[in-house]
């Protein structure tokens, strides 16, 4: 058993044994508080969390037995129980005696359930701290009473403030090791308040504690008669939850999923980000700004008369308005804005640095768009608060940037609404989450002109055309229908205001490539030149439609490798040789069969069909018009 007896404050009540139904009725009314604990390496954070679990009777006897055994083997507390071993869950962590990753811990008291994000203190784990802070209502910042406010303390405070955690508790720990000295406590608190005020943190609560001995954890400690504030858990039970402040804001619900079980029901499912909603409320669907009225709030347990921020619901509207995943249903009287250029703070979380000009996926709510960092305005030193000049951001760096998206984003400043202003960036090659970001405000275009880099990048070319460049590469036998389909595709794209250019075997061979014949070497050179031209055109932001027999796999792969990832769309116009030969629109097969044309694909030269094309069009099964529709919808219908 532990050397330090636990207090009786949260001993399971007698009610459990006597009247379980009454007990459960009471406990079903608990609320949920999420908190994060941060501190330097040896501030005793894990010990404090272990203590919270222990005091709230969350640790069972078998766990305590295991812990006692492990403490003797691996612990750092002599004969006493090392609570840190309870929360360091990965083998590597226990071996090295450090915390590597965020761990989530749970405990509850009669008033609340608590989810604790236990975050490592080392600088290299900034991203883990941001992860833990992002969902927290409250942060506990630990300071070792013997060491006072350290650079780490400042860094952690800055981070939780940046992520918008509304409540901060300064826990001055290890008070037992400074003989519960009030002057030491007061000095540390004064130090901290001085620093915190400087970066805009106000309303900090400071508590003198000992995680190891249990002072001021559940009840006022007799060792600190000079302290009149709440014990730590008392404060955690009383602090106001974020769910209250978000329900007082205007209604917003990002649409996650459209619920269509049959033709008579069309519901929009999502988690309410802010506000309240009732049947009859006037709403606006963004970004289209179509207006409608809430008809029902549908749940499996029956329709609701009202729903509030934090609930997952399904709404139906009184009109047949267009609404899909990524749209936001908002109160019509006070809808959020949509914009495509922003100032934002980024926390960089990847080994590979952030580079201006590179495109990333940006996910905000249920919206996913392509985004490019235009400029880095400055990097923030999270210890001193200084602004540093920077172009790129390295792992764990925090900076303020301007970014642009390829489509308008429905948003609100992060300070007003975490869900509508918090986003992640995703690397397009590795699919890793590379950054967490918070939107400050939208930049209007006039304001933004001066921020454009002088070198006009390929992204910029594409952005002003409002499209994603691509090479639609149509390959297939002579007579398969490539030119016919390519023409139809270009017409359809032109109707959609897309900027295109058609490269066709014939028009290229009359000019650029008129010096080339039909030997294997010349065919390869032909395709290489076409590839280079297509690449230049995508750099200019165009959608290139290339219709070439291009019989050799290696050549097509060469073109693919020249273009940016995802831009090369290989379309196999698949026609059986017999059918192509029967069509023979230019009489070429007849001439090849007669021996008048040498090296004719399909007759005396091979055609290597693509192994894994983005699209395969079976011309025996679809008309040219249908083929063109398939290609166009592949291009514009795929948001990725």
């Amino acid at each position: 058993m532990p050397p330090h007896a636990r207090s009786d404050a949260y001993r399971p009540e007698a009610l459990i044994a006597e009247d379980i139904d009454a007990y459960l009725a009471r406990h079903e009314r608990k609320t949920l508080l999420r908190l994060i604990t941060c501190g330097s390496v040896d501030d005793g954070k894990s010990t404090l969390i272990g203590r919270l679990l222990y005091e709230s009777h969350t640790i069972f006897e078998d766990q305590l037995d295991t812990l006692t055994a492990e403490s003797a083997r691996l612990g750092t507390q002599g004969d006493a129980i090392d609570f840190a071993l309870l929360v360091d869950g990965l083998a590597a962590e226990r071996e090295q005696g450090i915390t590597i990753d965020v761990a989530y811990r749970f405990f509850s008291t009669p008033a609340r359930k608590f989810i604790v994000a236990d975050c490592p203190g080392h600088e290299q784990y900034t991203r883990n701290m941001v992860t833990g802070a992002s969902t927290a209502d409250l942060a506990v910042i630990l300071v070792d009473a013997r060491k006072g406010v350290l650079p780490q303390t400042r860094r952690h405070s800055h981070l939780v403030h940046l992520i918008g955690v509304r409540h901060l508790v300064l826990a001055v720990n290890k008070m037992d090791l400074v003989d519960y000295d009030q002057a030491t406590f007061d000095r540390i608190v004064a130090d901290y308040v001085d620093f915190a005020g400087g970066i805009g943190i106000t309303g900090v609560i400071a508590v003198p504690v000992s995680g190891f001995k249990g002072d001021n954890i559940t009840t006022a400690s007799v060792n600190t008669p000079w302290y009149t504030g709440p014990a730590l858990i008392e404060h955690l039970e009383a602090v106001e939850l974020d769910q209250f402040s978000s329900r007082t804001r205007p209604f917003r619900m990002p649409v996650q999923w459209v619920n269509r079980p049959h033709h008579d029901f069309r519901g929009f499912s999502g988690l309410i980000a802010s506000g309240t909603v009732r049947p009859g409320d006037q709403v606006s669907v963004l970004p289209s700004a179509r207006r409608s009225t809430i008809s029902r709030i549908v749940t499996e347990g029956g329709d609701l008369p009202v729903a509030v921020a934090g609930q997952s619901v399904t709404l139906t509207l009184s009109d047949e308005v267009d609404c899909s995943r990524g749209d936001v249903i908002a109160s019509a009287g006070d809808p959020p804005q949509a914009a495509d250029q922003f100032e934002a703070t980024l926390v960089w979380m990847a080994d590979e640095p952030m580079l201006p000009g590179r495109a990333y996926w940006l996910k905000l709510g249920a919206q996913q768009v392509a985004a490019t960092i235009q400029t880095t305005k400055y990097e923030v030193n999270v210890v001193t608060g200084e602004r540093l000049a920077a172009k790129k951001l390295e792992l764990n760096a925090i900076g303020v940037v301007n970014l642009a998206t390829d489509r308008p984003l429905v948003f609100e400043p992060y300070a007003d609404n975490r869900t509508m202003g918090g986003f992640i960036l995703i690397d397009r090659l590795t699919n890793a989450t590379v950054a967490a970001g918070t939107l400050h405000f939208a930049l209007n275009r006039a304001q933004n002109v001066q921020w454009q880099p002088l070198d006009i990048s390929r992204e910029h070319h594409a952005r002003i055309k409002n499209q994603k460049p691509a090479v639609l590469w149509l390959t297939g036998l002579s007579g398969a229908g490539k030119s016919t389909i390519a023409n139809l595709v270009e017409k359809r794209l032109a109707w959609m205001n897309r900027h295109t250019f058609l490269l066709d075997g014939d028009n290229i061979r009359h000019g650029l490539n008129r010096d080339l014949g039909f030997t294997e070497v010349d065919r390869i050179e032909n395709i290489r030149r076409v590839g280079e031209v297509a690449k230049l055109m995508t750099d200019a932001g165009l959608i290139v439609i290339a219709a070439f027999i291009s019989p050799f796999r290696a050549d097509r792969d060469l073109v693919r490798s020249m273009t940016a990832p995802g831009e090369f769309v290989e379309v196999h116009i698949d026609t059986p040789l017999a059918l192509a030969e029967a069509r023979d629109p230019k009489g070429l097969y007849a001439r090849a069969r007669a021996g008048e044309l040498k090296n004719f694909t399909g007759i005396d030269s091979p055609y290597e069909p693509p192994d894994d094309p983005e699209l395969r069009i079976d011309t025996a099964a679809v008309t040219p018009a249908e083929a063109a529709n398939l290609i166009v919808s592949y291009l514009v219908g795929d948001p990725r």
Binding site: L32, E61, G89, P230, A238, T248, S269, S312, M349, T433
Partner: protein
């Protein structure tokens, strides 16, 4: 130091005096309501972003809650994915009955997978020890995911169950070989889940990550969710072996010389293969009584499972790295 005094109990009234009464009067979301909303949000994200999702259904109480939440998340539609039961042929009989009943009720397609190699070799918990779990569960799961090309699989694991689970993300990625790399997990900020996969990768999704055992029981009670009767105490034929009380669920249970089944009033805190699942002596016959026992108990839930203690402290972490759920 004056600003460091105790906080007053804050109220909506004081902080938001302009808010109309009808908003202030709405009750706060309880912890169960908040957890429910979070789980439903997770499930809808997967349905929207994954190509071929599936829900692992192990017939236990966590699966029961997960299935219940899925039905709520997509109501009035049926959940847009099938249920997958990775069977070992050694589950309790009552579990098979419950499984078939719930599949029918939920209008979901039920896929039952039994590792054909384990079946052919007659792998069983009595003769093969750890190999039983590896072959039937770990290998069986991988086979089923590969065979049906599922790219996202819901599991009912909770972070309070075990230390390595406490560190796992809600969207947890597995390599093409189903391996988990705990040191290379994607940061998971706010409730934004990055579901983009690399070629061959799959995702295990844990919508109950933030639930505790007590939350699960309270929710089962609140929502009146059907669970396997084995969770409630009844007289059952048992033997005591290696510190575990085991139930003799069918005649495949090889009795040791001199061993005779004894009738005891027992229930199970977790359900798995019957020869590997320890019972606790109990008189709790209702959900409320089970909660009562849970609150007054002094040992953690997984204690009844032989699997966690096979090779010392990091056993579960190792199993997870190899592809176990």
């Amino acid at each position: 130091m004056t600003q460091m005094s105790a906080p007053a109990l804050s109220t909506i009234r004081r902080d938001f005096p302009h808010v109309d009464e009808s908003v202030a009067a709405i009750e706060p979301l309880t912890h169960l309501e908040a957890l429910e909303a979070e789980s439903i949000h997770i499930m809808r994200e997967v349905a929207a972003e994954a190509e071929q999702p599936v829900m692992l259904y192990s017939v236990g109480k966590d699966s029961a809650v997960m299935l219940h939440l899925a039905r709520k998340a997509f109501y009035p539609s049926a959940p847009p994915f099938p249920l997958l039961h990775v069977d070992t042929t050694w589950k309790f009989r009552a579990m098979y009955e419950m499984r078939d009943r719930m599949a029918a009720e939920s209008r979901m397609n039920l896929i039952v997978h039994r590792n054909p190699e384990a079946l052919a070799r007659g792998i069983n918990p009595f003769d093969h020890g750890a190999l039983h779990t590896d072959m039937w569960k770990t290998e069986g799961l991988k086979q089923a995911l590969d065979q049906h090309r599922f790219d996202a699989a819901f599991g009912g694991a909770r972070r309070d169950e075990e230390k390595s689970r406490a560190k796992e993300r809600i969207f947890s990625f597995r390599s093409a070989h189903h391996r988990w790399d705990p040191k290379n997990q994607r940061p998971e900020v706010w409730n934004l889940y990055n579901a983009r996969k690399n070629k061959g990768e799959t995702i295990r999704v844990f919508p109950l990550s933030n639930w505790t055992e007590l939350d699960v029981w309270q929710y089962i009670r609140r929502e009146d969710i059907p669970v396997v009767p084995l969770y409630f105490a009844a007289p059952r034929p048992t033997v005591e072996r290696d510190g575990l009380i085991l139930m003799v669920d069918d005649d495949r249970f090889p009795l040791r010389p001199g061993e005779r089944p004894v009738e005891r009033s027992v229930r199970f805190r977790t359900l798995g293969c019957y020869p590997l699942t320890g019972a606790v002596e109990s008189t709790a016959r209702t959900v409320a009584e089970v909660i009562q026992e849970t609150l007054l108990t002094t040992s953690s839930e997984r204690q009844g499972r032989a699997i966690d203690t096979e090779t010392g402290g990091a056993s579960m972490e190792r199993k997870k790295q190899e592809g176990y759920f």
